[in-house]
Amino acid sequence: MNPDLTSILGNFYVLTLIKLALVAFVLLTALAYLQWIERKVIAHIQLRVGPTRVGPHGLLQPLADTIKLLTKEDLIPAHVNKFFYMLAPMMAVFFALSAIAVIPFGPKINIFGIETYMQLTDLNIGLLYLLALSGMGVYGIALAGWSSNNKYSLIGGLRSSAQMISYELPLALSIASPLLLAGSLSLREIAESQAGFMLGFIPRWSIFQMPAPQIIAFVLFMIAGFAETNRVPFDLPEAENELVAGFHTEYSSMKFASFFMAEYANMVTLCSVATLLFLGGWHPLVPPPAAGFIPPLLLWAAGAMLIFHGLQPARKWDKYTMPAFGAVFLLAGFAFLIPVLQPVLQPLFWFVSKVGILLFFFIWVRATLPRFRYDQLMRFAWAVMFPVSVVHLFATALLVALLK
């Protein structure tokens, strides 16, 4: 490549801007489609089919929803506290999106002679930054509840403040143990410390590692994460059947969508952090030679299945859409064989699929579990989660000190 161009692209600011644009684009699209996936998955669990009208399999539904929400009248009720009412959704979405800045998606890569990390910024206190942002995220909801001047919103806002503050404790404590194992606060270094295999086949992910089974920390982290993101069974702030819509009762159009987006962005961040801390980040599940074959084989299998279904169309359009999607999957599988792309695609594949599985778990739980009651939820946080996470942290710390 032209050395001038390389030096321009290698410039820190230019490179960061390019990465920023890329991450922002991919993330926002992914958020929109996460909603589509959630609707589809829940629909199928509930014997329905979900969105089917806009585009093949309702694939353009997120787009239609976005256009609808953007063009809706931006209603501000007369009785709200305008300043905080406007500020709240901005805060929610700002803190949710900025958390993604420190999430690494892969290791150091070398494209066209430019060395860079697959990460917006490698903050050496990345974990603390994330905790701080999730703490600030409460303000969005609490302010929305308070400024709406609506009794349902107020109760929703109060519930969420209490809930998120209580669950921050077990969340932080469960994060601390993989941190002790890795000896670093940088998310990239924590993930890198989990490379390699024990006994040749067990990945050295935190979740499989001794001392003190880290799976406990993982479970605690996920439960606290459900509470942090206000998802079922901890969706009390917006408990539809009790509080109508909770803290966002008075919000409409894009301001409502902002809360929605913040919730989904928080979910993605949380699943990414869980992957990085406990599931080995972008490191494959199986040792190297096999690990290289798994992604293309999986994609080819998916593509073949789609083409097979396309040959026996269940609906009119399946004849065209299914093989088209199948071809995309087949091509994506071949992309994994191109040597230049391999160092980028391989880690990305493992990272995205782990995050995807965790997100699916979030959706699955939403379709299955009833909702906690407010006092039960608080009791669960302080009487179960907190002691367990403290004991687990002490055990891990002790064993780390003894063994290392």
């Binding site: 509930q46 009794k151 349902y152 069974p233 059947n241 109508v244 009833p370 909702r371 009651r373």
Partner: protein
């Protein structure tokens, strides 16, 4: 809370309460448009934080004046109105009204029609309980249950459609029997549904009983003593969950219920979970009754032999003078019912459903009064929600299983 609302409330409070430094409560209007009030019920709750200090049910938003409308219809024309009272248990309402008028007329209903009535009201009970289970679980947050219950309910609605041509407002019972002969192949259709149904009940119980969150949300919630319930006139599954085996089907058998073998499920805990268990057991008992009715269905007429009250057959109407006259008279003027009054109570899915019918000898009722179970049960709302959490109020409301049409008439 904003300054404005709190100022309003302060003004509303009596002077001495303000000065006494009492904890101020927040008045929250739940409904009439609220996802969990199942229709247009308004509950005014005084909240101290999340705790309900006082709850008052404000009913009447669905008042349709059905009782008054009954007075200007002929006796037979009232039947479709009774459908609209409790729209989830329409056949129970049909039955209660028909039994009351038949009591006034002193009619004898053929056994086949009686058994048919039993079978269909039991299907109605299953239908109603399925709607209750789905919405109750939905309120507590188990959203998927709703769809599973409605899948089964769809099958029952198809059966109703097969019998009467309507899914919900069936109006299938008539004074003197049934509206139509049972359709061909009904035994196969009912059998197919009812034999598969016990498995579905198992599934629902597994989904909810194995769930610690469900147990925590329902056990020990909204407890009410039996004495209190008796004082307030609570009936149906709610009172059976408090330990009283009061079921009109057993205690004052009507139609042909004394010929069927079934149990009256009871519990003693009197909480939301006990009510849930009682209704689940009732689903099983109803299944048993439907199977018995289906297998032992006696042969016979679907209508009583009562010229002048029951419409003549189409064939007879075209060939016989008397039949033609009766047909004309019934359709145009209606039939006359001897003066008197009758009260008949049946066990609707929600409790004791009574119809008090007064006749002055005319072709229309002088007065029709409905003693509806939802109204009686809803009175228990206030005492039940006292000092409970908002979330519990939702579980309690669900466990009452009221229908607002039934409450307001």
């Amino acid at each position: 809370m904003s300054e404005q609302t709190s100022a309003d409330e302060q003004a509303a409070l009596p002077q001495e309460e303000q000065s006494a430094g009492k904890r101020r409560t927040m008045t929250l209007n739940m409904g009439p448009q609220h996802p969990s009030t199942h229709g247009v019920l308004r509950i005014v709750v005084d909240l101290d934080g999340e705790v309900i200090r006082k709850a008052v049910a404000d009913i009447g938003f669905l008042h349709t004046g059905i009782e008054k409308q009954c007075e200007v219809r002929t006796w037979q024309q009232v039947v479709p109105l009774t459908d609209r009272v409790d729209y989830l248990a329409n056949l129970s309402n049909n039955l209660a009204y028909c039994l009351a008028v038949e009591k006034l007329l002193g009619m004898e209903i053929p056994r086949h029609a009686q058994w048919m009535r039993v079978m269909l009201t039991e299907l109605t009970r299953i239908n109603s309980h399925l709607v209750w289970l789905g919405t109750h679980a939905l309120d507590i947050g188990a959203m998927t249950m709703f769809f599973y219950c409605f899948r089964e309910r769809e099958n029952i609605l198809r059966l109703f459609e097969m019998f009467s041509g309507q899914r919900m407002m069936t109006s299938y019972f008539r004074i003197g029997g049934l509206a139509l002969e049972a359709p061909r192949g009904w035994q196969h259709a009912v059998g197919k549904f009812i034999r598969a149904f016990p498995d579905s009940i198992e599934q629902y119980e597994n989904l909810l009983n194995a769930n610690p969150i469900w147990m925590e949300r329902t056990k020990g919630i909204a407890v009410m003593t039996l004495d209190e319930m008796l004082n307030l006139g609570v009936t149906g599954p709610m009172i059976r969950a408090a330990g009283l085996a009061w079921d009109i089907r057993k205690d004052e058998p009507y139609s042909a219920y004394d010929e069927f073998d079934f149990q009256v499920p009871t519990r003693t805990e009197s909480d939301v979970y006990a009510r849930f268990q009682v209704r689940m057991d009732e689903l099983r008992e109803s299944t048993k009754i439907v199977i018995q009715a289906m297998e032992g269905m006696p042969e016979g007429d679907f209508q009583a032999e009562a010229p002048g009250i029951v419409l003549p057959e189409r064939e007879a109407m075209k060939t016989q003078m008397e039949a033609m006259i009766y047909h004309f008279k019934i359709i145009s003027e209606g039939f006359r019912v001897p003066p008197g009054e009758a009260y008949v109570a049946v066990e609707s899915p929600r409790g004791e459903l009574g119809y008090y019918v007064v006749s002055d000898g005319a072709t229309n009722p002088y007065r029709v009064f409905m003693r509806t179970p939802s109204f009686g049960n809803l009175i228990a709302l206030g005492p039940m929600l006292q000092d409970k959490l908002i979330a519990d109020s939702i579980a309690a409301l669900g466990s009452m299983d009221f229908v607002l049409g039934d409450t307001d008439r």
